[in-house]
Amino acid sequence: MVQESHLQSNRFKGVAVPQILHDHPLTQWMHNRGWHWFDHQIRGLNAARKGHDFILFAPTGAGKTMAGFLPSLVDLHENGSNGKLHTLYISPLKALAVDVHRNIGRPLEEIGLDITYETRTGDTPQSKRARQKTRPPDILMTTPESLALMTSYEDAETYFKDLKYIIIDEIHAFLHSKRADLLSLNLERLSTFAPNLQRIGLSATLDDRETACDWLCRKKGEIVTAPAVTTPQVEVLQTQDHMPWSGHSARYAIPEIYKAVSQAKIAVVFVNTRSQAEYLFQSLWTINDDNLKIGIHHGSLERELRRKVETSMAEGAINCVVATASLDLGLDWADVDLVVQVGAPKGVSRLLQRIGRSNHRLNEPSRAILVPTNRFEYIECLAAISEIKKGNLDGVEPKEGGLDVLAQHVFGVACSGGFYADALYDEVQKAWPYKTLSRQDFNDVVSFVMDGGYALQSYDRFARLSEDNGRFTLRDKKIARQYRMNIGTIVEAPILKVMLRNKTLGSIEESFVNNMTAGDTFLFGGEVLEFQGVHNSFVKVTRSKDKQAQVPNYAGGRMSLSTHLSDVVRQMIGHPEQWALFPDQIREWLELQHEKSQLPDEKNLVIETFPFEKRYYMVAYTFAGRNANETLGFLILRRLKRLKKRPMGFVMTDYALAVWALKPFDHPENLFDPSIIFEDFEEWLQDTPLMKRLFRDAAVISGMIERRHPGTTKTGKQILVSSDLIYDVLMKYEPDHVLLRAAYRDARHGLIDADRIKHFLTSVVGHIVHRPLQKISPMAVPTILQISRETLARKDRDEYIFEDIEEQILKEASVDTVN
């Protein structure tokens, strides 16, 4: 229900209701229910009445959706419908569009307003779509992909020219993604069709509101913020057991988690990985003495099962859901009154968004409990809480718009009737992600769309576009079909099956194998496996004779620690005066580190080297996040191999990177010279399957190769061309081709995170402290334990053996007194 929260909260607070709204039947409808307009709803309306764009930042339950629609509903009432499309609503989820259709529909139906409103998604029947084309509703609710499809129709300009408002929901959920790039380009398209179009954005709270506003709004953009009525109550779970040194299991805290959950009406327990979700779900059931209804929700589960859990949540028919990020976009959280976050939150904004979705009664603070699973995470949790109190959020790393997305868009524009290159370039540059797009890149993309844009040999005789006096048009209208089959920026294939000979061992996230090259070993299902390669979406492996895996354990789906939170953690560790908040065991641990080695801080990169169990170890406290640390690990491994140091493997966390070798490290600080990212990176990148995957995505999004549609099967072995073979040929003949450039750009963020490594290494030049030690330091213990944990075969992971090892390491580090 749209305005349900008004029941409990918010008396009318001061911004005057304009006459036009006062006279609107919606106001009467609200009054009949004892509700009032929120300030931010009125402020949004006022901005829109002035002809401004606006973006509203508000927690869920603050009448955000109504605020988005209000200008449109007022205008339609005032001026009446002219039988043209008046308002577009864009949601990142089909299901959300349907939900909003229902919620906005209720007052309209009850009042009997003469406003038509419909959804249009991939599920909309052809006949309805055809009718929507000739007789559009006043308000159309749809997705970015359906919008792209609609703007590619030949009559798009006529269809959209009377559009007055476009409302974009959940902007925070996809800002700075390829989907947002596509949407941003289509926004500019619409503004060309309808120059007076006003943009309205709805978002959960973000740190960098100005950037989000710039992304959405044209010159006259206003930021409207719904004040958080209460600061959420966030605390770290207090437990009986001592804080584990390493690992992510939260086993020590299960009784306390259960207790907290059983006291809530509906609790969501968030974990960071699927295996954690399965483990915790099981553990909670084994001690479920109160017969709570506990459900589970993660990405590997069938969609139907997930929908069931979501429905139970909405109906209040469930007490607790153990979930991964797959629930972040779930729809109705109104009755959730407790969020438990197991594992560190990794970012302040994400945590706040999760908490913010719960508890739609605005006058009561939302409640959240953080459950760190190891010592570093404890500090991270405290850092997050302190930032929430200060109101400091993470920024979102902006990125340049994808050239592959641009190619898709240019093709779409050609389908809608053609373009002048100069005019389209101007239009594209107005889209925020493309504001720095060079004319050269734009031209290359246009030639790519036209005929592949190859320098040495041309496909001009098959060109899709023809050029006449600077105007590009589709050579054959039938080609538009190819475009329409290929719309969208989401390329499926995130999960790969692990195959040992002809046996499937299970599924693995693609991101895990992306960085591996043949011969790397990793642990899976209790065995050390050797990676052979990815073929036809199977991960081919062999059994390895090694007892220890070189590449850190498969964790799957874990987010990287945000740069912002990482800075706060480094700062907290480096300044003992801030340790007062820490529990004794954490404080003593840090004191011991200070005494035996050195504390890392916000300025210095501390590197320790020490011998341990006949091997030489190097631990670097980078706090650079797991993605960047992993890439750095691969690069250092590569460099050590070249230096003949016989590296054995590495392990990383968000906080540190540990490398071990058969020969001692001398001057390990040289390994962190920024040159590593320039010299070794390119070479490594060309070899890593991740690059080929990025290229494949770019090839699909740009339309070089066709998207495989679900349900279609290969009809013959030569129907498809392997994007890997294409990559090899292209690298050889045209290494500077625009699609290779597109893939390289993508490597700067996300899983490879090259920019973050570059930035980090540059920032620590001259601030690298090497501490050669005789034995393992207290702070190295969690990371080194991680090695044992991840390389102990699961089949003989007897708890006693494990504790023995832990004991031995602790003894050696002389920290056994800490507990």
């Binding site: 592949g452 040999q457 098959f462 052979q532 392997s722 073979l725 294409i726 040929v729």
Partner: protein
Amino acid sequence: MSTPSIEFAGHKFQPQLCGALYWQSENTLIVSDLHFEKASHFARHGNFIPPYDSFETVNKLKKTCDRLTPKRLILLGDVFHDQYGYQRMAEQARSIFDTIISGHELIWIDGNHDRGHAPENVVVHEKVDIAGIVFTHIATDNPMCEISGHYHPCHIMVHKGHKMRRPCFIFNEKKIIMPAFGTLTGHLECGSPAIRSIIPDPHFAVLGTNRILMK
């Protein structure tokens, strides 16, 4: 290291790393499934994959011919990815190809992709019989000894403990199926029923990076 060879029908054949088969006693080079102009075939349908496959493949063929200097050249079918491939071939690649086919005693076997189509003055054969061996594009149940292509066989090879998927020759005493020579050609695993039904008791000559593994 001695060059690996396949004893077949009383003759000695030398598989080459590039995927060609050399028949020294007849001074004959056999290549199969060049699939020239596969990329431009896709380009005709609006998928502009890089147009360098023919050039890459024909250069590989030229190098092989220059090295082994055969008198006779057998093209074992699917020389072009479709029937109009020769017309589409860019001048640079085509002139190399023309020089190759005019410089050898050419035997052109018809393929399923380019059925009935070959450059002018080239005779297209369904199959030929040389010294008691039948050369044809797709393996038949003919009881004679037969060399064919079509399936693009590949093998999962174990090399220094690394497994990789490599193109291969698959053979027994009656049949040899050749790997594809073309640059953008996909592969079919040797274990697939289509190949197994023809050669139930296979031997392999697997094309590694630097050497051929006989097994």
